[in-house]
């Protein structure tokens, strides 16, 4: 059969070997095979669903005080009890997730984009751009990160603004470093040289070929970096220079609960656990995505 075909159309010269079925399982079934990705995804999804639907889940207002029923232990009515001002802890915990996760995502958008852009340009073009970017990133890394965060938070006043400013200033560095390294190593590969000799414009090589090749790694870095951002937000809240009360926030909740450690330990422990939970979810997701993209290529 095959021989006959080759005889009748000797000029076609198609490889007799058919494209190997390297595609493997696709989409969902491939994701399902990576436990870290599944676990991280489910954990994060659960939190996001809760945060989105909390107004319908809980009958309580996160800021409504009820001084007649303060510091109650967990019960059927108050699932995680109430705090020192009689506010429902579970409701506040989930509303705090809205605040903190929202700021966390917003604070990473600009650094992620600008960091990758700077890193790509520096890595691909090299030369003086590369020298300047290396110099700036190394200088910023020499500073203790929390020192910068606290200084900016104080300077810009409490609230989410300080966090945004801080991360626009220093958050791009980690992405710039990662994408610079990747771009510099990819540039040495033959297909980049090939694309150049084939006459594709430089911006096209950067955006359509280099960027997709570094994006997976950058997203993995983003996941782990988000954990850092979350911890920074919570730390500032704990120190009293972050999210201002009465807006629910895990950091201020931990700080407020501290005085009642001996009688109502869950006041601090529960928001603390929420931070750990989110951190684990993001880390697992990052690992899982790395695994997924490694298997793909």
């Amino acid at each position: 059969m095959k021989t006959e075909r080759m005889l009748t159309t000797p000029e076609i010269g198609t490889d007799p070997v058919l494209p190997p079925g390297t595609r493997g399982p696709r989409g969902w079934s491939r994701i399902r095979r990576i436990p870290a990705l599944m676990a991280g995804g489910v954990m994060l999804l659960l939190l996001i669903l809760l945060a989105v639907f909390i107004p319908w889940i809980s009958p309580f207002d996160p800021t409504a005080q009820d001084l007649s029923s303060f510091l109650q232990p967990p019960s059927a009515e108050h699932w995680l009890g109430t705090d020192q001002l009689g506010r429902d802890l579970f409701t506040r915990l989930i509303y705090a997730a809205r605040t903190d996760l929202g700021i966390m995502v917003l604070a990473e958008i600009i650094p992620f984009c600008s960091g990758i852009a700077i890193g790509l340009l520096a890595g691909y073009y090299g030369g003086w751009v590369n020298t300047i970017v290396s110099l700036v990133t190394d200088t910023f890394i020499a500073f203790p990160f929390y020192l910068i965060v606290i200084i900016v938070a104080f300077a810009s006043g409490a609230g989410a603004k300080g966090i945004y400013i801080t991360f626009v200033l220093v958050g791009w560095i980690v992405f710039a470093r990662v994408s610079r390294g990747l771009a510099a190593s990819l540039r040495e590969q033959e297909w980049i040289a090939s694309a150049q000799t084939l006459g594709l414009p430089g911006w096209r090589i950067l955006l359509r070929h280099l960027l997709p090749n570094i994006l997976p790694q950058a997203v993995v870095v983003l996941m782990t970096d988000m954990v850092g951002v979350l911890v920074a937000i919570v730390t500032l809240g704990y120190l009293g220079i972050g999210i201002a009360p009465p807006t629910p926030d895990w950091g201020t909740m931990i700080a407020d609960g501290q005085s009642f450690m001996t009688t109502a330990w869950w006041l601090s422990a529960v928001p603390g656990f929420a931070v750990v939970y989110t951190g684990i979810a993001l880390s697992l997701l990052g690992d899982g995505l790395a695994d997924l993209w490694r298997r793909k290529s």
Binding site: T3, M6, L7, P10, G13, D15, W191, S194, T197
Partner: protein, 376 residues
């Protein structure tokens, strides 16, 4: 194949004229009518006393000079580190960091495109292949997205890639090495080059696929009429593809001339060594040795030597025969191709001083490692 064709250039021209109509739709046919390497026509590429050196002053290529005319093929042959690939990259203007032209020049006023050694490495791993070809068509031929895709699919059809690519685009890692090399050639052709630069385009492929790619490039050249510089360490392939050979050793040209002359009457001992280094299939060694067309010293030596080796290493014959082919399918192709090929060979043998059966039988064998050659 083109070596043979250049022997009977008139036939080739006739074929080119015939094919010109068929190829009109690719917009590349205009040159194929005048592919004859007419000596009166000015060369389209001239390398003059080209010398390349590193920043530290180490000379890598010294005083290379050659001229390439329209439709002509030149083979650059030599062992690894002889500077042949570097010469090619100088032509393309793609010298590695720290290597510069210190003397002489490469001048050409026409479009050139390169076919790389490692096909997989020359493709963006995360971009589907049809998209990659269409992209080059779009930017080099100033087409819109839709036209570029149609043109790309036409090109891929010309290169014998499966039609299923039109329905479902694929990533490079979903294609075989040979198919990837076809894509790389398609990328090069999308630039409508006047000169195709081939940097060992078959070295990274299985032997049976090598054959197909060689035939493909030869066919495309006769149809599209581009000139070619073919870099390889395999003398047999170079002789088959090119009418003229330049043999390089340690950055210098040791011998230069028409392929036939270089092969049958090598003047330089290094060239002789390269010819001797070609292994033959033990079964055919005797037959080739007694071929009346082969009167050259080198070939007789070659026959004796291989016989001796075959006697010393009985296992060698098996390894050579099966070589890099890992499945049964390619051998079926070889078998299927054999009748038509041998008929062609018989017809051409009259005109060619090189024995086709010789090159043919040598082809599936690999260059020997005897003289420190390191096939990359």
């Amino acid at each position: 194949m083109s070596a043979r064709e250049s022997m009977n250039m008139h036939e080739k021209d006739a074929a080119a004229f015939e094919k010109a109509g068929k190829l009109g739709k690719f917009g590349m046919s205009d040159k194929s009518g005048k592919t004859g390497t007419d000596a009166s026509e000015p060369p389209i590429l001239v390398a003059d006393d080209l010398t390349l050196a590193t920043a530290s002053g180490q000379t890598l290529v010294e005083g290379i000079g050659f001229a390439l005319r329209r439709g002509e093929s030149i083979g650059l042959v030599g062992e690894s580190g002889s500077g042949k690939s570097l010469t090619l990259r100088a032509v393309l203007g793609l010298l590695p960091k720290g290597v510069t032209i210190t003397r002489g020049s490469v001048r050409h006023s026409v479009r050139s495109a390169m076919v790389f050694q490692d096909p997989r490495g020359a493709l963006d791993p995360l971009c589907p292949v049809v998209k990659q070809v269409a992209e080059v068509v779009r930017y080099r031929q100033n087409k819109n997205r839709r036209e570029a895709r149609a043109e790309a699919l036409k090109l891929l059809g010309l290169l014998g890639l499966p039609e299923s690519l039109a329905r479902e685009d694929r990533y490079p890692n979903q294609l075989s090495g040979g198919q990837c090399q076809r894509i790389v050639i398609a990328l090069a052709l999308a630039c409508r080059p006047d000169i195709l630069l081939c940097d060992e385009p078959t070295t990274a492929l299985d032997v049976t696929v090598q054959r197909q790619i060689i035939d493909l490039i030869a066919r495309l050249q006769s149809e599209l009429g581009f000139a070619m510089i073919f870099v390889t360490h395999n003398l047999a392939i170079a002789a088959e593809m090119c009418s003229r050979l330049i043999v390089m050793k340690q950055g210098r040209v040791v011998e230069e001339g028409p392929s036939v002359d270089v092969l049958t009457a090598p003047r330089d001992p290094y060239t002789r060594m390269l010819i001797e280094a070609l292994l033959q299939l033990p079964e055919t060694a005797g037959a080739a040795g007694t071929d009346p067309a082969l009167t050259g010293n080198a070939n007789r030596l070659n026959g004796e030597r291989t016989d001796a080796e075959a006697a010393n290493h009985p296992s060698l014959s098996g390894e050579d025969g099966s070589g890099a082919s890992t499945s049964d399918e390619p051998s079926a192709v070889e078998a299927a191709k054999a009748p038509s090929e041998s008929a062609e060979n018989a017809a051409r043998k009259e005109d060619s001083a090189i024995s086709d059966s010789e090159t043919e039988s040598q082809f599936p064998t690999l260059g020997s490692n005897t003289e420190g050659e390191d096939p990359r």
